[in-house]
Amino acid sequence: MTSDTINDQVLQRHGVTREEYDRIVGMLGREPNLTELGIFSVMWSEHCSYKSSRVHLKTLPTTGPRVLQGPGENAGAVDIGDGLAAVFKIESHNHPSFIEPYQGAATGVGGIIRDIFTMGARPIALLNSLRFGSLDDALVRRTMSGVVSGIGGYGNAIGIPTVGGEIGFDRSYAGNPLVNVFCLGIAKADEIIKGTASGVGNAVYYVGAKTGRDGIHGATMASAEFDDTLNEKRPAVQVGDPFMEKLLLEACLEVMKTDALIGIQDMGAAGLTCSTSEMGSRGGAGVEIDVAHVPQRETGMTPYEIMLSESQERMLLVVKRGREAEVERIFDKWDLHAVHIGEVTSDGKLRVKNHGQVVAEIPNHALTDEAPMYRRPMSTPAYLEKAQQLDLESLGAPPAPAQVFTRLLSSPGISSKRWVYRQYDHMVRTNTLLLPGMGAAVVRVKETPRALAMSVDCNGRFVYLDPFVGAQLAVAEASRNVACAGGLPIGATNCLNFGNPEKPEIMWQFGRAVEGMGAACRALDIPITGGNVSLYNETDGSGVLPTPVIGVVGLIEDATRVVGRAFRSEGDVVVLLGETRNELGGSEFLHVVYDQIRGVPPQLDLAREAALQQVLVEGAASGAIRSAHDCVEGGVAVTLAECCFDTEVGVDVDLAGVSDAPAGYRDTATLFAESASRVVVSVAGGQLAGLLALASAKGVPARQIGRVGGNRIQIAVDGKQVVNELVSDAERIWSTAIESWFEQRRAIA
């Protein structure tokens, strides 16, 4: 091994600091060569090492009686009964999706699917959480269009339904969209497969697509801000091939049915480097490979390029010695070629050879467990004090409630996402019990009487105004959505999207949000079994709204008792669970009418939230609750409207006015405040007393506000009617708002 010239310029290009370099030299006891530096640089990148976030993530609750696999593997797993496990995780693909929206989003889907089937689970559901800039920006529309077709293009082809998700819009995401993809699969609880390499002499196999020069330093790219050199970064985005992944999925699941497999891991970020060193590290073993055996798509690739390539649809397997032929035969059936590229060794090192000659030799632990960990400085952001001030009276008299109502229904954040989800196959596998746009996503588990409810949520405005409370509200909303469908929340995964962690104000947002998320998960008894951190979401120095997305999974014991958000029949009684307060801080109302993100987010009482969710789960299980929909963006008025849209039945309610709102804002606050822990439910008349008794026993405020019926949405405050719209008119405004942005564009083009 000859040492190449490694100077400051080389280090900078690799995103390695001088201190980190000195540490590398100390660990190796010598200077690294360029290949070794490349390997260290990707493994120690923020994306792979979580070096800024790990100290905080360690504080999250990750254990519980149902947890079969917590953080540290390719995905988390929880017990769902009958010997089955739900295996799930969420991951970001933000940076690539801005550079090349279609492929960036598509490969994001491909990556998370691999994480799930790698665990021995058959993926059965995809969700996504997306953030874009304002739709009046043509570049934003182009980005959104590309991301949506990329998600569809991959998921549709591989045959895993995209059953739900959420989309938010804010100018801060214009130059840095967020693309977070969640996938859930089902495995036999005692057959979960780990990403581990062990057993000296066992064979290391490479299978899947050939290795090319695409994606080299993708992980490093995802660990830096964007600037005007953006176009030069295009080669770092990979291209997806869902057909290849479909073959890998089926073939790997078939191989897993044999007991010839020791461990398996996909080659995602940092490709061959990450999979070899992580598998070795987990198994306490060494891994030796010869890159000359790695199938290559291009000629003249160096060991450096082969080790760092992030070409998609590739897997690394460790196979028991003597069982190789069996495994090769299965891959052959699927027209895939499994190539023997190395062996498990006893020395704990990653040893890379090229035609038999050693080109890199690094202890696995140096790349994984012993990667740098930083407790970066944090400081309260300067914007905070001013942003938290909200003086409603200084805004002047608000527009008439009826006018605000229709404006909110047509705001992209609230309006129907049909234009998006109808580009996704959301029905394949025939498990989809609630169609997208109807609340939580719900899929049945065919082998059992059960179903799983899933929801991904985060309101970045709340987190911006108070990261601690905002993150708690995200957990509360996602678990409340799951509970509305009748699901008992049993596990969660998070995707923490923030700006540059080297800025103390961003790090403060991150630290506070993780604290809030942990507190909420502990109070609601929801372990976090894994997730992903995406930092450096900044373009030209300006960061996105802090967006810690949480995905919650809930268990519905009886799949025939799933509750949707739509009102079911005329005459049903409408009940509002929870209390409305003068809480317009960070609301969609302020955003749409005044273009402001101000005030403090709604307060959250976690004990009451837990009690509310118990009422929802018990009310669904007993069959008392016929529909349930929580009140979030746009407040109770928007919630009531959305309950009317699917069945096109009207509602007539009278709400108690919020007492502490300033003069002139009473109706506005009553209708549009976003107070937490509130749900609109409907019950048959005969079930009302039972529901009220259940709510009272749990200490949840509940009030009968009206009835389902007619063809109008009629809302009164303290007896005075303030909204009166035909359901069909409101539905048209709500359902066509987003597609009209895209239709309009086509008309111009």
Partner: protein, 250 residues
């Protein structure tokens, strides 16, 4: 009755179709790998939806070269009932078992949603349990479902009553807005001249239980069983489980 469900490497509705045959209909069913050369003695063959070979070239273009397709063609030539759903329909077109071709959807977008389809003909094995003109709510999920054929072919298809399914409004009318993909004459499905080979873009197998939004698609499978029972009475079929009768009575 025994169903053969052909599995191409990129099929992704194979399990769903198998589930309907096996669990909903209570019939015998077998997944047949595309490299196989026998249909395993099946009474009916279904080519399921998916992306047979990735379909980066043209949907179904490579699938017609799979070894099993020779057997499917023979089975069809002998009068056996063959149903192609979505990608299966595209494969039947490429294999020349049905006329015409698929173009990208008019709006160049993949589209997945429930819509309404009118049953135009009831004298095929897959529609004989339907009422003439019956409108069924079943989903589509495709990017290339814009059916096209030369005008003289369309004219012949219409004249021979080979258009089996058409996209319509909820009330059963051929309205412009009820055409989801730009198909000529709103064609959603058709049959061959012998009427034993049927292809359609919508997914009846996704609408066989109310729990998943609609059970209207079940009538397509009930039709196969009805065809099977008729054949049984004529002595052409040997195996039909008792479960079939239960389904017919639903």
């Amino acid at each position: 009755m025994k169903f053969a469900i052909v599995v191409f490497p990129g099929s992704n509705c194979d399990h769903d179709t198998y589930y309907v045959a096996k669990e909903v209909l209570g019939q015998d069913a077998e997944l047949i790998w595309h490299k196989d050369t026998s249909l395993g003695g099946a009474d009916a063959v279904i080519l399921p939806g998916g992306f047979a070979h990735g379909d980066y070239l043209r949907t179904g273009a490579i699938a017609r070269f799979s070894p099993i397709m020779q057997e499917v063609a023979k089975f069809a030539a002998d009068g056996g009932p063959v149903l192609g759903i979505c990608n299966g329909f595209q494969v039947l077109l490429e294999a020349g078992l049905l006329p015409g071709a698929m173009l990208r959807n008019r709006r160049l977008q993949f589209r997945c949603e429930f819509l309404n389809v009118r049953v135009e003909q009831t004298d095929t094995p897959f529609t004989r349990a339907c009422r003439p003109g019956q409108t069924i709510k079943i989903p589509i999920a495709h990017g290339d479902g814009n059916y096209y054929a030369e005008p003289d072919v369309i004219e012949r298809l219409e004249r021979n009553r080979q258009v089996v399914f058409r996209y319509v409004s909820p009330s059963g009318d051929v309205a412009p807005e009820s055409n989801p993909n730009g198909s000529v004459n709103h064609i959603a499905g058709l049959c061959n001249e012998a009427r034993n080979v049927v292809g359609l873009m919508p997914h009846p197998e996704r609408a066989c239980e109310l729990a998943v939004g609609s059970a209207d698609g079940l009538v397509v499978f009930q039709s196969i069983l009805k065809w099977g029972r008729e054949s049984l009475l004529e002595g052409n079929l040997t195996t039909m489980t008792s479960g079939a009768q239960t389904v017919l009575n639903r």
